[in-house]
């Protein structure tokens, strides 16, 4: 029973947030902050797999998020919304409950395939050189979309809110909030399962010593392929949710600034710590909102905080420990390792 306390508590919390939002106790603003928190948790924890556990330096996470956002948006607009180029909706709104998760999965899959752009060069390239490749990947994706007229090019792409409306039309609930919360729980759960499995132990092994990993029978190329594709696929899932939360996307919102933001969250939380990534994503989102009154000046304050962090606590909030390492009593309720 105690083992399930954590899971039950988590879902109770989700239900509570949804209920509060439904009853308008949490207004639209707070609801959207919570949704951005969820998206950021997904982005930070998925990047942590590559930057934290595998010890590579990927700085193009925004690009994969972009692929997921655009592909899933295209799917839902095609299915549930009227669009000048794509025509009338193909499916009735009742099917949105099935269509939307499928669109998200397609987006995630496309982002995982885009991850190959980085995964294949990683077989032979490491460290700084691979970082440059990830940077290039981000630029390639953004520029490609900037030049695609079918998704609006630099003007952006919209019509995704029709999906939300279609679902609320059938059952009146804050569906996007529900999907984002479930998506972030799914992401962290999946990554946790992965890094604690025998297969997943190959990732920190590659971080430490690739040659030694090979002579321990780890197929390092396959391992890198899995890690990069899983990471970019989950970023794509986050991107899909982000696009449907906003109802509008443009390529600029996935450029290097976004990638940097996600990296800041990973280093703030601590490399190789999933609970760290989640805590950092939540506190970073709160911080961004709290500093809103500073306007553009917050871009002076936040990097300054980063410098201070690197000076005084370079390992981030959690180091490479998990919550259950710091508070062993928590192990009664959930076990990380």
């Amino acid at each position: 029973m105690q083992k399930h306390t954590f899971t039950i508590g988590l879902f109770a919390l989700i239900a509570l947030i949804v209920a509060l939002s439904q009853l308008n106790i949490l207004d639209q603003y707070y609801t959207s902050v919570i949704m951005f928190m969820g998206v950021n948790v997904m982005l930070a924890s998925s990047l942590n797999l590559v930057n934290g556990y595998m010890g590579e330096f990927s700085c193009g996470h925004g690009g994969f998020m972009c692929v997921g956002a655009y592909v899933s948006s295209l799917c839902t607009v095609l299915m549930f919304s009227k669009n000048q180029i794509l025509g009338a909706p193909l499916l009735p709104p009742q099917l949105a409950f099935i269509g939307f998760p499928i669109a998200l999965m397609v987006g995630a899959g496309a982002a995982a395939v885009a991850g190959l752009v980085v995964a294949i060069p990683s077989f032979k390239t490491r460290g700084d050189y691979l970082a440059i490749i990830t940077l290039a990947a981000n630029y390639i994706i953004i520029s490609a979309i900037n030049n695609m007229e079918i998704v609006g090019g630099p003007r952006g792409f919209m019509g995704m809110s029709a999906t939300d409306r279609a679902m609320s039309g059938v059952i009146d609930l804050p569906w996007m909030l529900i999907f984002v919360l479930l998506g972030s729980v799914f992401t962290v759960w999946l990554l946790r399962r992965f890094v604690t499995s025998t297969l997943g132990k190959g990732v920190p092994a590659i971080c430490q010593d690739e040659i030694a990993a090979e002579i321990m029978s780890v197929d390092t190329n396959r391992m890198k392929l899995i890690a990069f594709m899983l990471s970019s696929g989950l970023a794509g899932l986050a991107g899909g949710l982000y696009a449907h939360v906003l109802g509008y996307v443009n390529p600029q919102s996935f450029d290097i600034m976004r990638s940097t933001e996600v990296m800041v969250m990973v280093y703030l939380g601590g490399m190789g710590s999933l609970s760290g990534a989640a805590i950092a994503a939540v506190s970073y989102t709160v911080l961004m909102e709290a500093l809103r009154f500073l306007d553009v000046w917050k871009w002076v304050v936040i990097p300054l905080l980063l410098i201070l962090l690197m000076q005084f606590r370079p390992e981030g909030i959690m180091g490479n420990k998990e919550l259950s390492d710091l508070f062993p009593k928590l192990r009664k309720y959930y076990s990380f390792k």
């Binding site: 132990k201 920190p204 430490q208 090979e214 002579i215 321990m216």
Partner: protein
């Protein structure tokens, strides 16, 4: 006895420098064979070539062949050599994963095993029985282990990959004499249990007392070979490697 490993006229180079000038030797099933020689003789190069480690770590084979149970290894990636052929290497300097715990290091070694949980569980037990110290420290990060314990872990890890042929690169390096004898006693036990061993050692005296047969490597060539007794009695070998 069947020949397990056969190295035929192996020539390898690092860039433009030829490190091995065509060496041939073989290891038979159940044997302990040692390669001895001075620094730079090409001992580690030989082992790395057998394990097919990727460049730039490994030398490039230009001529000759490496056969394991009659099958050429030259076109196999290292992880296949370990997983499909049941070979294992304890590398020079141990190269354990310091960021993982003792248990996780052992768990990683079972990465490619497909012979079921029962066999894996038996091997865990075997490793913890051979090295009770590892059992005590199973939850500890392995970078916090002492040098001797790290060597135990490196050997335990090799056992966990399920090996029938074990290669060791300088296992005595950095070990106190007492620990060194312990290590060799354990290896002898494993050999009596059916494990074939190819050992590389600078400490020629110790290696020859432990092995059945030996080869003497000097600047990329095999200059002498024979049973351990023969080599220990050979005046040339005595003079060059055994201190008179």
């Amino acid at each position: 006895m069947n020949t397990l490993l056969e190295v035929k006229n192996l020539k390898v180079r690092y860039g433009n420098i030829e490190a091995l000038h065509g060496i041939s030797f073989d290891v038979k099933e159940g044997e302990i064979v040692t390669l001895i020689g001075a620094n730079g003789a090409g001992k580690s190069t030989t082992l790395m070539s057998i394990c097919r480690l990727p460049p730039p770590e490994a030398p490039r084979v230009t001529e000759g062949d490496i056969l394991y149970k009659g099958q050429s290894l030259l076109n196999m990636p290292p992880h296949k050599v370990v997983s499909d052929l049941d070979m294992a290497l304890v590398p020079e300097g141990r190269r354990i994963f310091g960021n993982l715990t003792v248990e996780e290091n052992l768990k990683l070694a079972t990465y490619a095993r497909t012979d079921g949980h029962e066999h894996i569980a038996q091997d865990y037990e075997r490793v913890y029985q051979l090295f009770p110290r590892l059992a005590e420290r199973r939850k500890q990060r392995s970078e916090s282990l002492s040098g001797g314990e790290q060597q135990m872990l490196a050997l335990g890890r090799a056992i966990m990959t399920k090996c029938s042929f074990l290669m060791l690169d300088e296992p005595s390096m950095g070990l106190a004499p007492l620990l060194m004898y312990d290590m060799f006693r354990t290896l002898k036990e494993l050999n009596q249990g059916g494990l074939t061993i190819l050992l590389i050692e600078q400490n020629a005296n110790l290696a020859l007392r432990f092995a059945h047969r030996g080869y003497v490597l000097d600047t990329g060539e095999i200059v002498a070979h024979g049973t351990s007794e023969e080599l220990l009695a050979d005046p040339e070998v005595k003079k060059a490697y055994l201190g008179g």
